[in-house]
Symmetry: C2
Subunit: 152 residues, 2 copies
């Protein structure tokens, strides 16, 4: 059952989504499947790269945000998917052992003009590391179901 509906989100509201730690093994496993660049795959070659050591694929960091966003927000509302993302930014390298804390902040809410059952929520997502540095930010657009009206 939905805990919240489109109407319950207000501009400026932030929700802390919890945190996740990332290991070298996870970084390498992700890179093997989705981003086989030497600085994501191979600690020795990563040492000699511009990053000076193994770093996570930015898509991996985005996926970790997505998991926390799904668990903390999307799976608690009627969710009708997303048309896309703006301004996906990889601001700091993410390294083995880093702990990333996720936060969701509402940027804009507006009812859909074409679909009366839903509204559009635009949000900023951020992942901040254990040193307080923002490692990832993005702007997401999502369709959330509106609160069913009481039978009159």
């Amino acid at each position: 059952m939905a805990e919240r509906y489109f109407e319950d989100f207000t501009v400026g509201e932030s929700i802390e989504l919890g945190s996740v730690q990332i290991s070298a093994a996870e970084i390498i496993a992700f890179a093997e499947q989705f981003d086989p660049q030497p600085f994501h795959l191979d600690p020795a070659r990563a040492e000699g790269s511009v990053f000076g050591g193994l770093i996570a694929s930015g898509w991996h960091t985005a996926g970790l945000y997505m998991r926390l966003f799904a668990e903390g927000v999307l799976n608690r509302v009627p969710s009708f998917g997303s048309p896309g993302i703006e301004q996906l930014r990889w601001l700091r390298p993410v390294r083995p052992g880093d702990t990333l804390r996720a936060r969701f902040t509402v940027l804009e809410v507006r009812p859909s003009t074409s679909r009366p059952d839903r509204g559009i929520v635009r949000s900023r997502g951020e992942m901040t590391n254990q040193d307080g540095e923002v490692a990832l930010s993005l702007e997401a657009t999502n369709f959330f179901g509106r609160r069913p009206s009481d039978p009159a």
Copy 2:
């Protein structure tokens, strides 16, 4: 060894990056790790969703583009990472059995003003399904190494 350098990319150039087929098992495995929404995780619940069946996480489709982009472009140049992505768009649902063909098109090239060893390449990435429909598009920014000058 690098096959290409920053100087070898020209605006308007397109590179076909090959294709990949996606299975229900892969869709579910990705969703369990990174996007645990019912329409990505559970065929039965996906049937009853707005999508009418299981669909891939948009982050999964993006990761498949990334793999083909890394293999076909990034691992053939001196690559210094990426600051981020604009206009990531999930234009069509991706379903089990779909085959996605990736294409990279150069939108802009410019030398870095702060780092003489590299240039900035902005590109459009697209994944097109077996019916010729664009399922994913994005605009990527990447730093590519410049061709070493001949010793004079």
